[in-house]
Symmetry: C2
Subunit: 571 residues, 2 copies
Amino acid sequence: MADVTTSAQTTTTVPPDIEIAEAATLTPIVDLAREQLGIEPDALVPYGHTKAKVSLGYVRSLADRSEGRLVLVTAISPTPAGEGKTTTSVGLADALASLGEKAMVALREPSMGPVFGIKGGAAGGGYAQVVPMTDINLNFTGDFAAIAAANNLLSAILDNHVHHGNALGIDPRTVTWKRVVDLNDRALRDVVVGLGGVANGIPREDGFDIVVASEVMAILCLATSIKDLKERLGNVVVGYTRDKQPVTARDLKAHGAMTVILRDALAPNLVQTLEHTPAMIHGGPFANIAHGCNSVMATRTALRLADYVVTEAGFGADLGAEKFIDIKCRQSGLRPSAVVVVATVRALKYHGGMAVADLKQESVDALTLGMANLRRHLRNVRDVYGLPAVVALNRFPTDTDAEVAALLRLVEEEGFRAFEATHYADGAAGAQDLARGVLDAIENSPGEMQLVYPDDLSLAEKAEAVATRVYGAAGVTFDAKAARRLAAIEAEGFGHLPVCMAKTQSSFSTDPTLRGAPVDHTVHVREVRLAAGAGFVVMVTGDIMTMPGLPKVPASEHIDVDDDGRIVGLS
Amino acid sequence: MADVTTSAQTTTTVPPDIEIAEAATLTPIVDLAREQLGIEPDALVPYGHTKAKVSLGYVRSLADRSEGRLVLVTAISPTPAGEGKTTTSVGLADALASLGEKAMVALREPSMGPVFGIKGGAAGGGYAQVVPMTDINLNFTGDFAAIAAANNLLSAILDNHVHHGNALGIDPRTVTWKRVVDLNDRALRDVVVGLGGVANGIPREDGFDIVVASEVMAILCLATSIKDLKERLGNVVVGYTRDKQPVTARDLKAHGAMTVILRDALAPNLVQTLEHTPAMIHGGPFANIAHGCNSVMATRTALRLADYVVTEAGFGADLGAEKFIDIKCRQSGLRPSAVVVVATVRALKYHGGMAVADLKQESVDALTLGMANLRRHLRNVRDVYGLPAVVALNRFPTDTDAEVAALLRLVEEEGFRAFEATHYADGAAGAQDLARGVLDAIENSPGEMQLVYPDDLSLAEKAEAVATRVYGAAGVTFDAKAARRLAAIEAEGFGHLPVCMAKTQSSFSTDPTLRGAPVDHTVHVREVRLAAGAGFVVMVTGDIMTMPGLPKVPASEHIDVDDDGRIVGLS
């Protein structure tokens, strides 16, 4: 499911994330906003003393400001060893700030579901965290709850419409719009609703996704104004009539009320890092079924407030970064100036074939084999995306000097620069070399971002472009049903949309066990989903989980609160 | 479903609620808290500039303060004509403040579901509203979302436990714990979850209630501290083992994480009325399946901050007020000093047999007949609850002087005082007579509140006491299954709990069509539900709706937001 971020990285000297976070002294958010960003208190909507939304009116008032440079943090293909993309984003922003630059970090909001499952929190780790950590990982400013309410109101209105005579002629068997909750709840994946007799409506198959997999989440993250949000919500296709005509949220007159529920959620959230660097944490769509980046509102607002904005895309550079470019940048006009590819010695040894249990053992050979994964990502960034790339070597205590030296050399042989980073243990000081490298890349490699494919290719050709150019695949095949659906979507007028590839994050291929850099593989699309409101067409390859389950012993068993309200057990 | 509050009252001169609310100039909540209540900004957790939570630490710091007087606002049996309990509560608090008293109002939070259904908002009406009205009616401070998340996390953990081997031996057929959403969604009343094969768990019948019907809501409203909240959540019984032993949230190790989710929600919310009287709006359980009052935390905190606190109980004095006394006061030690019974000429004519369409016609005869309803409520308050009662005659423009004079006389003949109130149109000035009457009642009738039954009666005897003493019933009968369940609950050690009668609000009887004051009726209990965490046993009589549906044309169709983010269509 969601990214494996970084708390996996542990040393004997660094206390648990929550202890560091709870011990931190935070700057009152109104002071931080005024002193560092020039935002007056009236332009903030505080949620407590250390988090705030930046009002939509203030966001609008920034429209004519010039924008800073955007640095995209991505990674090699994720492994069970953990890479540390969020910590690196935070550490890099802190390091830029410590070098005297006006810097911000713009990240996704964590989903509460995984917090109670396996993953724990997602606000960075060690000495590279965003705070208040428990708030950010839990209810935060209510954005996810608002998304769930808007999503589920549309479901309720849809079923209500069918119940009350179905004037639009919706075929209940064709409804694609699912309900959502922000929990890991496998029992809700496949359900039958409307049981119990006439008064309860029409029985039909339905299911719940986790909030981050919802189209409303993707829409909120791509919308540029209340007007655009409402327009996109109106465009959502919920299903089809018996005449196979799409039925939209606008047809159901649901989009106005949905926008009302989401009005406050559209405003970006401002918090800070442990080192008081301003942080925008806003939106958090999946990086498979959706585009996997924080909101356009937050990124754009940060760029108008700072000279350097560090942002993160989901999973590896084949997934999150591709979508960042082909969906978020395509729709918004945003353009990154440099890309940081996060790699670890451990993860590359895993890509070189080592078992997880063996990763503590030194192996330059495995590392050299695993370099194939990093190499392809780096070449993609440079040659396909057209952007300067820098490698962040997120160093773990178990990494040997020989391994680190080998990795630095291997990267250099590819014509890129790699920088050791120890922000997890050392905060900003641990990422200053990386920060200087990034600044240097921005100055000296004025790349111009390239989309992977133009709008006017067919949807199948777009998938083919991503698969061959980014994944190194031989080609794309389609289930007969998926091919028919593609044809229908194009006939409905959605052929101009970009594609959103839902692929395993663990491999360049659709087989999660193929580590490194597989070649000559085929990408098989088994299902196609239209996200007309978000503005993309999802190509589902393999099994994509849109509702995680809880493990046998969920993290929730150890999450508790003492009598004074202090939360314990959150990692 | 939820109470019919007051916006039904319209005149040609009073603008729509939302226009009045949006035109209001609100005092910044930090200023209001400091100036009126002596609360420093650090003790507040602001949510924007006009709403805040009062921090739990500050709430605790008030523990030794003396408490003001509590005024409970209740009503005759609700009718389609609308009575105006919330507006009267707001108007009375404003009037007390305008007379120089230090007054607050403590109300329930509206549920978002009905806002998009028929009901519209629930923040008062006319010139007697709490503001910011749109915020209060929508996501507010996230309390309901947190309740839903905590409730549904328990469901997820339960199904996960069964899926992963069911070490506790839970019998899935006996699970009574349902999922919730804060929407009107009839399609979710009866569902089957866990479909789709082995990976998705065990299929079983389930259902969703609306958040206000959940035990977590009741628990949050009765909890007095984080510790008490966690203890109550741990006590929740979710179902039974195959050996018929109760399984609790504590057995599932879910209560700690649930408490974590609810930590912020436990702190009471501070807002203001249109006339800048401080208002606590916190919690909102149903008044049938639950106890129908705002939170103990809010009521108690308000009493420590003000000399007079006006609070409201759900539905009529037979339902909400009875539960206010027998559940909320019994558990918390709170004691009201006076009771205001809200009545209208229109509603009493309805109780006297008039059709809704005819209510604009003068009829002292119908009014005199309908007085039977008010009479029984007044006698109950005085003779059963042991409290001084005052009638608020919430005057509508269509009421004739003859009708008003007749009602005032009828009330006087019963030995009570009634006061015309026009706060809907006139604000505080319209309720000053009522306020003086309430102050007088408190001074001159130092009643001592009586519980309707002692703890040590059997559960059946407790139901009998309410039915005969309050409802005027001849007695109580039980379905065989309900009787068996009662015996089991007592055997499990819950016989000492108070009962929570789930009865139609429209009649003293269980037949909603029996207006006025029916006698010799029998209350038939068809189902019994244990709420071990909330600390009561629900006696279900008749059909009690715990998940409303949307009407053919839901209010959501007319609720919209303009490009500047202004919400329209909310009433």
